[in-house]
């Protein structure tokens, strides 16, 4: 690691016009799960600007390879083989090293391995659907998986989720904690999805669509999708407001 002091300044305020609001009736479950009163602003105290650190020792050899991490020895998950890669950056464009990135997804047929899942598409006996990694010194990460399938879900009578991968990301402060979803370039299902449409800004949606990157494909093996994740930035210098005399 570089010999630089840790950053201790507060984060930029979250732009709540950019994120989906809590109450989005087109996504029915949000109706009873959305706080109705105004949030109370709480600018970064120690409790928000600090956060846990996870070491590489938590990672297993195949944590970032969903094609094999649940498969029987010598077997592999079925589906379009893809490499997902990118960087975790903050709003200043600074790479975030040591960030824990967790991901989960449906199988190639759009079926999740979960007790409460009821879609009729079959499970793949060699696909679990979870993985994780920790970013390198430049904020870079990658994992191997199969492209998840779209699937119908109980919201409207004919609502479908576009193919997507869920991401959970830790930055350096607990206030940076973020869960989001990655979509795939060119998928017409993106623009008719009620969950995607909770995001009010078209550019914010585009920021969740991974680009097909033929430069980084592994020839005769897998295609690549590039997905950068942006976490909140923090002030570069921290000038404390103090009353005179303090």
């Amino acid at each position: 690691m570089k010999n630089i002091p840790p950053e201790t300044s507060p984060f930029f305020p979250r732009d709540r016009e950019w994120h989906p609001p809590a109450f989005t009736p087109g996504y029915k479950t949000s109706v009873l799960r959305s706080p109705q009163r105004a949030l109370i602003s709480l600018e970064g105290t120690k409790s928000e600007i600090t956060g846990p650190v996870f070491g590489h020792n938590i990672l297993g050899e195949f944590d970032n390879d969903l094609i094999v991490n649940y498969a029987k020895p010598g077997e592999m998950a079925i589906g379009e083989r893809i490499l997902v890669y990118g960087r975790v950056l903050d709003e200043r464009g600074v790479g975030i090293p040591g960030a824990l990135v967790e991901f989960w997804q449906a199988n190639a047929g759009g079926r999740y391995r979960h007790k409460k899942e009821t879609y009729l598409a079959p499970l793949d006996p060699n696909f679990g659907g979870c993985g994780r990694t920790i970013t390198d010194e430049n904020g870079g990460y990658f994992f191997k998986t199969i492209k998840p399938g779209p699937y119908p879900w109980p919201n409207g009578v004919n609502d479908w989720r576009p193919a997507h991968i869920h991401f959970s990301v830790f930055g350096h402060g607990f206030a940076q904690r973020l869960i989001t979803q990655m979509y795939f370039e060119g998928d017409p299902m993106i623009w008719i999805c009620p969950i995607v449409k909770t995001i009010p800004d078209e550019n914010a949606i585009k920021g969740l669509i991974a680009a097909l990157d033929m430069q980084n494909t592994i020839p005769h093996d897998m295609r690549a999708y590039k997905f950068d994740i942006i976490l909140r930035g923090r002030r570069s210098t921290f000038f404390e407001n103090r009353k005179e005399g303090n």
């Binding site: 109705q36 105290t45 120690k46 956060g51 200043r92 993985g131």
Partner: protein, 205 residues
């Protein structure tokens, strides 16, 4: 022309969905053999951890007063002396036997969440005044579009709560109790209400 301000925008949030357990607590969801244990599961304390052992338990209720059975809750707190186990903690070194972070799913049948932890010490506010002991909560679930942040304070800290810089500036005093975990013995009960008369105070942190 002035120099351009070139900032990126934070990636927009999307709901954690109904299957957040697959990614964050796979063993709990029935996916075994990928990770040895679920990150953040189990007790937060070991024999050497300093501090008073407590158990935090509660439910997350929706607007129809039905407990969520698919929520995921993470907490972040200081050690017994008020230090965070984080590189951004510059005031001193935290207890090496206490990470201060944990993650628990609500029970699939009842929705109850349980954390085995210690009572945190006091941490200074930005102007140096001490905040009352508190635990930071982050709640995600299907139907929650952006993770919700709140804090749990302790009912047995009346004096500290009264001078807490955050609690004391809340205009609607009737809402303050939504942030206070009720302590009985070593159990602290903290229910979170997403809507309704007792809607929990959530923070824009």
């Amino acid at each position: 022309m002035v120099q351009p301000l070139t900032y990126f925008k934070e990636s927009a949030s999307q709901t954690a969905g109904p299957y957040v357990h697959i990614g964050c607590t796979p063993n709990f969801s029935g996916i075994t053999g990928v990770y040895e244990t679920d990150l953040g599961s189990g007790s937060m304390v070991n024999d050497k951890t300093r501090g008073e052992r407590i158990t935090i338990r509660g439910f997350v209720y929706d607007g129809a007063m039905t407990p969520l059975k698919d929520a995921l809750i993470e907490i972040w707190q200081a050690d017994a002396d008020g230090f965070y186990n984080s590189p951004s903690e510059t005031r001193g070194k935290a207890d090496p036997n206490f990470l201060g972070w944990a993650r628990q799913p609500g029970d699939m049948a009842t929705g109850e969440f349980v954390f085995e932890t210690i009572k945190p010490g006091r941490v200074p506010f930005r102007d140096g005044r001490l905040m009352a002991p508190h635990v930071t909560f982050w709640i995600v679930a299907r139907g929650i579009n952006l993770g919700l942040n709140t804090r749990m304070y302790f009912s047995d800290e009346e004096a500290a709560n009264a001078e807490d810089p955050i609690l004391s500036r809340i205009e609607h005093r009737v809402r303050v109790p939504t942030l206070i975990g009720k302590r009985e013995g070593n159990t602290v009960t903290f229910n979170i209400y997403l809507q309704g008369e007792n809607e929990t105070i959530f923070f824009d942190i």
